[in-house]
């Protein structure tokens, strides 16, 4: 009964989505205000229906209804409740339902917070979002229905993939999808701008918080994915430039370019058609990611097990959405003329250069990801493009961005003087260089020029992050009113750039100074040394988990004569699937990770273990979290949340801010 209810809700949602597109479209054509207003009601109805479907599927999992094929394939009678609740998105069909639910949520949000938008723009944006919903709902109903029943009902399910039975699985997909799907809002606003031919500073002001919010969720989603892979996959890696990872990173790069381009469009009214193009590209890359991950066209540990037939549908959808968008762009973008001039040595000029490097980095990742496919398609053989390529290409393209982050904050809008900028940056430059040289010495690492160069860039971003805040505080008469006078947006930007620096610093140290070793240890016997720490295997004993049996290890780590940590790596055998899972154990602080993974048991009771010392590994994820928080602050800036009356005074504030900076 419940699965059928969920299925029916999806069908109704499709109908509502169609209405959400057709009626406002009619309203635009005939200038009918009531028809335009229907978009909001449709968005609300669609959200309720999709939530109903989602909750139905969740109920099927929680109640262990194995007559539903999807539930049987991704759950089992022993699966803990926490994972039963989240196994909904454990495979292709359910994750699509998550996608659609999040999309209906964003659509509802746009419908609710659109009071300041002109009616036609709001309705157009909702109609565009409706089109996206139609595509995904059709995809689900025609090819990927999670509610299909199977008879005879199996006694037990296949269990959720053990790789997914981890806290990272609970958080990573929803955050990632919030980001992917969130870019559809910027996309919808961009299409609305193209259709109505209107795009002014107000348009940029509405679009920015939506885009920043989507960006921040995507940042968090990627960070969580990396952290999860590190803890789960057992080889100490946290980024492999795998096609699926790249599929999430490319929208992030384009999205970062977009939020910076929007800043220029809002402040100076420049780069209008470029911003619109970026909005289409960012969402297009999200859709492309969906295609790459679910069509089976590329090989990846992260890919959903699905087939080429579904790939054809997604490709058709992708081609239609982007094809129509680019057609519209080619036709209408020439009308979005930017007026005003841009100097290269100004904040907007440097943000343009920022975009150059971000988009080139994005294009390079795309090139590397698709190159093997292109070579194969042309029957020229089979090649692999992996981390050596991406590292070699990405690092030189990203490094200038770290320089720009500090530089641009010291450069004012419209026109800047080199002397003034130099005066502002002299001290931070000195400090960054000094710390870059002294830090490895203080931590007793060997000196390495690449690491110093990289950590200089990270430290530069860190040290210069606070300068905008500092200048605004100094501009006021006393510290407290200065502090109060700093807009949230500026706090957000500073925190995000600070986080970027922390991220870069962590990457430099972890890449330059990590050491690993495989060792064979006897339980209770001698340990091995690694980088000043000693690892001893105390014991390995069998244990029983809710749906697995495990070899539960106890490893003690000593440093300077004291035991500083006790870790419990495991090797689990899951009952339902018979698959073996290594659960690694990590002792971490900001300065270093100590990572232990179980290898194989030997005949005499010994075990092989893989041991890692990874300096500043957690700085990488801390950086990601700080960027997320920075985005949160920036998106909730006062001037985005104002009613029309107060808006005018906020506009005055914005003008005076622009004049100061």
């Amino acid at each position: 009964m419940i699965p059928e209810l969920g299925h029916f809700a999806l069908i109704l949602a499709l109908g509502v989505a169609i209405a959400q597109v057709l009626v406002p479209a009619y309203g635009l054509w005939r200038h009918d205000g009531r028809a335009l207003a229907l978009a909001t009601s449709a968005a609300q109805a669609q959200f309720l229906l999709v939530i109903t479907a989602y909750l139905s599927l969740t109920w099927c999992f929680v109640s262990k209804d194995f007559s539903v094929a999807y539930v049987a394939a991704n759950s089992s009678s022993e699966l803990p409740l926490m994972y039963r609740l989240t196994a909904v998105w454990g495979a292709h069909e359910g994750s699509l339902l998550l996608w659609v639910m999040i999309l209906s949520g964003w659509t509802l949000a746009v419908a609710t917070f659109n009071r300041r938008l002109p009616a036609d723009i709001a309705a157009t944006a909702l109609a565009v979002l409706g089109c996206i919903s139609i595509g995904f709902l059709l995809f689900m109903l025609l090819t990927s229905n999670p509610f299909l029943r199977q008879f005879p009902v199996p006694a037990d399910g296949h269990d959720l993939n053990p790789l997914l039975q981890d806290p990272g699985f609970i958080s990573h997909p929803p955050m990632l999808y919030m980001g992917y799907v969130g870019f559809s809002v910027a996309f919808a606003f961009a299409i609305a701008a193209l259709i109505t031919g209107r795009m002014d500073a107000a348009w940029a002001r509405w679009t920015r918080p939506w885009t920043t919010t989507a960006w921040m969720f995507l940042t968090l989603g990627i960070t969580l994915g990396s952290w999860w892979a590190y803890n789960e996959l057992g080889w100490g890696g946290w980024w492999f430039w795998d096609p699926v990872e790249n599929a999430s990173f490319m929208p992030w790069l384009a999205g970062t370019a977009l939020i910076h381009s929007l800043a220029v469009t809002e402040k100076r009214g420049l780069l209008k058609s470029w911003t619109v193009l970026l909005a289409i590209i960012a969402f297009g890359l999200s859709l492309l990611g969906t295609f790459l991950v679910r069509s089976g066209i590329l090989v990846s540990v992260h890919a959903f097990a699905t087939d080429p037939a579904r790939g054809i549908f997604i490709l058709g959808f992708l081609g239609t959405v982007l094809g129509l968008s680019f057609l519209l762009y080619a036709w209408r973008a020439p009308k979005l003329v930017s007026e005003g001039e841009m100097d290269l040595f100004s904040r907007e000029g440097l943000l343009l250069i920022n975009n150059v490097f971000l988009i080139t980095a994005c294009a390079s990742v795309l090139l590397g990801t698709l190159y093997p496919l292109a070579v194969d398609a042309l029957h020229l053989g089979k090649i692999s493009v992996g981390p050596p390529y991406f590292d070699a290409v990405f690092i030189p393209l990203f490094a200038p961005l770290l320089l720009l982050v500090g530089l641009a904050a010291a450069v004012s809008w419209k026109r800047a003087r080199v002397g003034e900028v130099w005066r502002r940056l002299r001290m931070p430059l000195l400090v960054a260089v000094a710390i870059a040289v002294l830090l490895p010495l203080a931590l007793r690492y060997r000196l390495s020029l690449p690491v110093m160069a990289g950590s200089f860039l990270g430290l530069w971003a860190i040290v210069t992050a606070g300068q905008e805040v500092w200048r605004r505080i100094r501009a006021k008469s006393d510290f407290i009113s200065g502090l109060r006078g700093v807009p949230r947006g500026v706090w957000g930007m500073s925190l995000a750039h600070f986080g970027l620096g922390v991220w870069a610093l962590g990457i430099c140290f972890v890449s330059g100074y990590s050491i690993e070793r495989d060792a064979r240890l006897t339980p209770g016997g001698d340990g091995v040394a690694l980088g000043g720490y000693s690892f001893m295997l105390d014991d390995v004993s069998p244990r029983l988990g809710p749906n697995y049996k495990s070899d539960y290890g106890t490893v003690s780590i000593g440093h300077n004569g004291r035991i500083i940590a006790q870790l419990h790596p495991e090797k689990r055998l899951y009952d339902a699937t018979g698959s073996v899972q290594t659960e690694s154990a990590v002792d971490f602080n900001l300065l270093r990770d100590l990572y232990v993974a179980m290898g194989e048991p030997m005949d005499n009771g010994d075990w092989t273990l893989r041991l890692y010392l990874k300096p500043m590994m957690h700085m990488v994820w801390l950086g990601g979290v700080l960027m997320f928080l920075g985005g949160l602050l920036a998106a909730t800036d006062r001037r985005y949340r104002l009613s029309r009356a107060v808006e005018r005074s906020a506009a005055d504030d914005a003008l005076s801010m622009a004049a100061d900076a």
């Binding site: 020439p334 698709l370 496919l373 194969d376 398609a377």
Partner: protein, 171 residues
């Protein structure tokens, strides 16, 4: 006109993906095509005498890497039996990472299409022949050169369209 560039790039990508959907990203062509069969020196299952790549010369034949633990091998086994018995095709079996007991049992149960069975217990020949999974079948001409590699189970279609013509023309 520069506004049309994104559309053009998109068309190119869609074409690429359309073609890509029909490719198998996990099938890797062999660099050994057109090269002589890699050398090996391994014992025969039947009597333990040494068999080498030299013994593969002089007539066109199939070299089939298989194992008793391999599911896909069982899928193609009936076809191999038919080829050996009905069509007189010479198939040399390379028993990959297996034990004599297991393979004897397997052949007894499923039938033996192999003129000879070579024991590649450590997989060393497999590594030299670029084998990355079983079953894999190599077609050799009379001179001992590899002319074709079938990755995965052989099918009737592949036999008729690809392998048979090669054996005929090199015969």
């Amino acid at each position: 006109m520069r506004y049309a560039i994104p559309g053009v790039v998109l068309v190119g990508l869609i074409v690429l993906f359309s073609v890509g959907l029909y490719l198998n990203p996990r099938e890797v062509p062999s660099p050994l095509i057109g090269k002589p069969a890699p050398a090996f020196s391994l014992p025969l299952l039947a009597d333990g005498t040494t068999y080498t790549a030299q013994d593969l010369k002089g007539r066109p034949l199939l070299v089939n890497f298989f194992a008793s633990w391999c599911v896909g091998c069982q899928v193609e086994h009936p076809l191999l039996l038919r080829l050996a018995q009905r069509d007189g095709v010479e198939i040399v079996g390379m028993d990959y990472k297996d034990t004599p007991a297991d393979i004897n049992d397997y052949l007894k149960r499923h039938g033996d299409p192999y003129r000879r069975v070579v024991e590649d217990a450590q997989g060393t020949a497999g590594l030299d022949w670029g084998v990355y999974g079983v079953p894999e079948t190599f077609v050799l001409d009379a001179g001992g050169t590899i002319v074709y590699k079938q990755i995965g189970p052989m099918t009737e279609q592949v036999w008729q369209e690809k392998i048979r013509p090669l054996l005929k023309e090199r015969g």
